[in-house]
């Protein structure tokens, strides 16, 4: 129960979505008050077009890309679908043998599901690249696959950083291997932007997904950055906007607000990322102190190479004997908002495919909890979690004893 004295909830779920920054909100509201279709030729249309192009230049500058490489979309899922399907179709058109799609086993469903859809509907063969115990993609497996089938591969898609366990992938190594075989690389950088340095040109990737609402921007807008020489077919057909790759009237307020939030978050990163990492380390230490049995999943930031191998704002634990949904409920009622980190189907918690791919047994994967920090996070949020956690874990374990399959009657 919330009492008048109770502080606001501790929001530890920034990887799900972030609050909009003040500047982004102001930009959105200002633009939303104007009429204008960016495809119209009259003055209102020209003003809208100008706002879009300025935003495009800003997004490109923030991410080390050229403006012509920025395709605005309705967000991460659309960008991933456009990349996977569009590159697959584009590559296959020039060479019908290129039917293989290589994706890491820990990709977001917005990459995995279009890939498997292509397998079911367009003759694609999906190769799931295995990961190690920390969730890092197996480069030897990628190399072997490319060596054996390089001339049949349409594309490789490996995320910049994982949304559940925060593992930063060796994207440059992936690019180097793939390009040796002339294979383009897509990366989903939705979680990475604002937390680690993301430079589209320097990374060498051919296409990259970003979204606004994970970095202080509005919901429902994002971009696919795509090199101009990358063959890519449209998924949405219509008025021919965004170089014919993504038709649809441009959402000017959302695009403007996205550009503002992105510029802000990229500028803040050099200072904010170390601060979030320090806060995250405090959170990890606090959780471990409360429950020594809790297992940190993903790279350990206190190890030699761990700090760079993990997103600074991510912490992810499994709590043996407890179920994620029990932990979630108990934390929520204690005013702490977190996530199990895995996708829900009709609200039914499924063991995370990411954890399973990392070799975590299903029974342990059930007890997963992700904490993700952001621009508005404070030490008080972490204190609140650590204070609530002892009773939460104890109760969730008691519930786990009685509710596990085959559990005590």
């Amino acid at each position: 129960m919330t009492t008048p004295e109770a502080p606001a909830d501790a929001y530890l779920d920034h990887a799900a979505t972030t609050p909009m920054s003040r500047a982004a909100l102001e930009a959105y509201v200002a633009e939303a008050g104007r009429a204008g279709n960016a495809s119209s030729l009259h003055s209102a249309g020209r003003a809208a077009r100008r706002a879009v192009e300025e935003s495009r230049e800003s997004v490109a500058a923030s991410l080390g890309a050229r403006p012509s490489e920025v395709i605005f979309t309705a967000g991460g899922t659309e960008s991933d679908n456009l990349a996977v399907k569009g590159i697959f179709w584009g590559r296959r058109r020039s060479d019908p043998r290129r039917t293989r799609v290589l994706v890491s086993a820990v990709e977001h469903h917005a990459v995995l599901d279009p890939a498997f859809w292509l397998a079911g509907h367009a003759g694609a063969e999906i190769v799931l690249l295995p990961v190690d115990g920390d969730g890092r993609v197996d480069l030897a497996a990628l190399r072997a696959e490319l060596t054996e089938h390089g001339d049949e591969v349409a594309l490789v898609s490996v995320m910049w950083a994982n949304n559940e366990v925060g593992t930063v992938q060796p994207v440059r190594d992936v690019v180097r291997l793939a390009h040796q075989h002339g294979v383009p690389v897509h990366t989903d950088a939705v979680q990475a932007v604002g937390q680690v340095e993301v430079d589209f040109a320097a990374s060498g990737v051919d296409a990259m997904t970003v979204t606004a609402h994970k970095l202080g921007g509005p919901l429902g807008v994002g971009a696919l950055l795509a090199r101009r020489d990358l063959p890519i077919e449209a998924v949405l057909h219509g008025g021919g906007q965004e170089r014919g790759v993504r038709s649809g009237t441009l959402d000017v307020p959302a695009i403007r607000s996205f550009a503002v939030a992105l510029a802000e978050t990229v500028a803040a990163r050099p200072e904010r990322a170390p601060a979030l990492a320090a806060l995250r380390d405090k959170l990890v230490a606090g959780v471990r102190a409360v429950d020594p049995e809790a297992v940190l999943r993903g790279p350990d930031p206190s190890s030699d190479d761990g700090a760079a191998a993990r997103l600074p704002a991510n912490a992810h634990f499994t709590f043996p004997g407890a179920e994620g949904d029990s932990l979630l409920y108990l934390l929520d009622s204690a005013g702490v908002q977190a996530s199990t980190g895995s996708a829900c189907q009709a609200g039914v918690p499924q063991p995370s495919h990411v954890l399973l791919a990392m070799g975590v047994p299903e029974v342990e994967a059930r007890g997963a909890l992700r904490f993700s920090l952001g621009a508005t996070s404070t030490a008080a949020d972490v204190d609140r979690l650590v204070a609530a956690l002892p009773q939460v874990v104890e109760r969730a374990r008691a519930a786990g004893l009685v509710s596990a399959p085959g559990g005590a009657a």
Binding site: M1, D325, S326, L328, Y329, L330, D332, S333, C344, A346, G347, V348, P349, Q350, R395, A396, A398, A399, L401, V402, S403, P405, G406, G407, A409
Partner: protein
């Protein structure tokens, strides 16, 4: 109190949750996911287990302004309710899966998890009343009673829970005399499920075809249908799919010599034989049960002492009949209830059915039918 409202997505449980909220309780809605593969469950508006139902439950929780969670109890459901359903049919008995679900899922898996998480009670949309009164020694006695709504009364399927579980159960619809009133309450609160049709069938039998479900899961086992003299009168795909008292679907080519209707009078799984005979062979007035659970206080059912002036009911929507009963111990060592019918006999009482003992509207106890005969 902290109350967990089990929300199926139907109108009854939504109104039950609303009433719990309005009674001032701290309520959290939980939808039980009973199958990971939703396709194998019935879909559409009649179910309690489809994706639409989970969405309806979520929407109702939103309207009530309460937190909402989905708990995955699919493995427990499969290994208790579905497994019991199959094993009982395979053994030639006739299970009631709704009774087993209340016993193992709603008032065990769900209730125990809720208790562990700090909830004081689980509220459901069942039609039954809990009446509290002061006992002889000053303690509070909780009694389970029939709903005033005869048509919807669900005390029969709830009787399986013992007193300590009843103490943590809450049936906010207990006082409602009609479903129309419940629908009106739903509409008054803007709950969109107010006009949703009732569910009737077994939720995990997708198309209502129980025999087909059993054949899929247990396999085809062809055998003979014989009459009471042992003469073969037909064939079947598996004796397990037949129930004592069944008349339809026997697939007998020829009518009986005397032209009278024939019923299943025995299911012999050891020889995979179904025995058919005339209706009078189905009449019984003695019933032995096992795995009995008493809701009445121990001093009310001392072993061996007959309780007169009670009624027993053997089907969810069957009529109760006058009887006398006594507590006993079954051959398998579990508590038993022995039954002698004192009015008219019952027809077609099958092993495996749940027998509930009532005095007036009050549930005294429940047992599982072991055998029934003409005394």
């Amino acid at each position: 109190m902290r109350v967990l409202a089990a929300m199926s997505g139907g109108v009854d449980s939504a109104v039950a949750a609303a009433l719990a909220v309005e009674a001032g309780h701290d309520v959290v809605g939980v939808h039980m996911a009973l199958s990971r593969n939703r396709d194998q469950f019935r879909t559409g508006s009649r179910g309690c287990c489809s994706i639409e139902d989970a969405g309806d439950a979520r929407r109702a929780a939103d309207v009530l302004g309460i937190p909402y969670y989905v708990w995955d109890l699919s493995e427990r459901f499969e290994e208790t309710v579905v497994a019991d359903f199959l094993a009982e049919y395979e053994a030639g008995r006739t299970p009631n899966p709704c009774v087993r679900c209340n016993e193992h899922i709603k008032f065990e898996a769900l209730l125990d998890k809720a208790t562990a998480l700090g909830f004081d009670a689980v509220a459901t949309g069942h039609y039954a009343q809990v009446v509290t009164r002061e006992g002889a020694d000053g303690t509070v006695v909780r009694e389970l009673h029939r709903s005033p709504n005869d048509e919807k009364d669900q005390s029969y399927v709830l009787a399986v829970m013992g007193p300590d579980r009843l103490a943590r159960a809450m049936f906010p619809l207990g006082g409602f005399a009609s479903k129309a009133e419940v629908r009106a309450e739903a509409e008054r609160r803007g709950l969109s499920v107010s006009a949703k049709p009732d569910s009737y069938d077994i939720c995990f039998v997708a198309d209502g075809d129980t025999r087909g479900f059993l054949r899929d899961r247990l396999g085809s086992r062809p055998g003979e249908v014989v009459d009471t003299d042992g003469a073969v009168v037909g064939e079947h795909d598996g004796a397990y799919a037949f129930t004592v008292g069944q008349r339809k679907g026997l697939g007998l080519g020829r009518p009986a010599a005397d032209g009278r209707a024939r019923y299943v009078v025995d299911v012999q799984v050891s020889t995979n034989t179904v025995v058919v005979g005339p209706a009078e062979l189905l009449s019984v007035d003695r019933i032995e049960t096992h795995k009995a659970v008493w809701l009445a206080a121990p001093q009310e059912h001392a072993e061996g002492a007959w309780l007169d002036d009670v009624e027993v009911q053997v089907r969810a929507h069957g009529a109760p009949v006058p009887a006398r009963v006594r507590a006993a111990t079954a051959a398998d060592g579990t508590p038993a209830i022995d039954v002698e019918l004192t009015g008219r006999p019952l027809r077609g009482v099958a092993a495996g059915q749940s027998l509930v003992v009532y005095r007036g509207t009050r549930v005294l106890g429940q047992g599982t039918v072991a055998r029934a005969w003409r005394g």
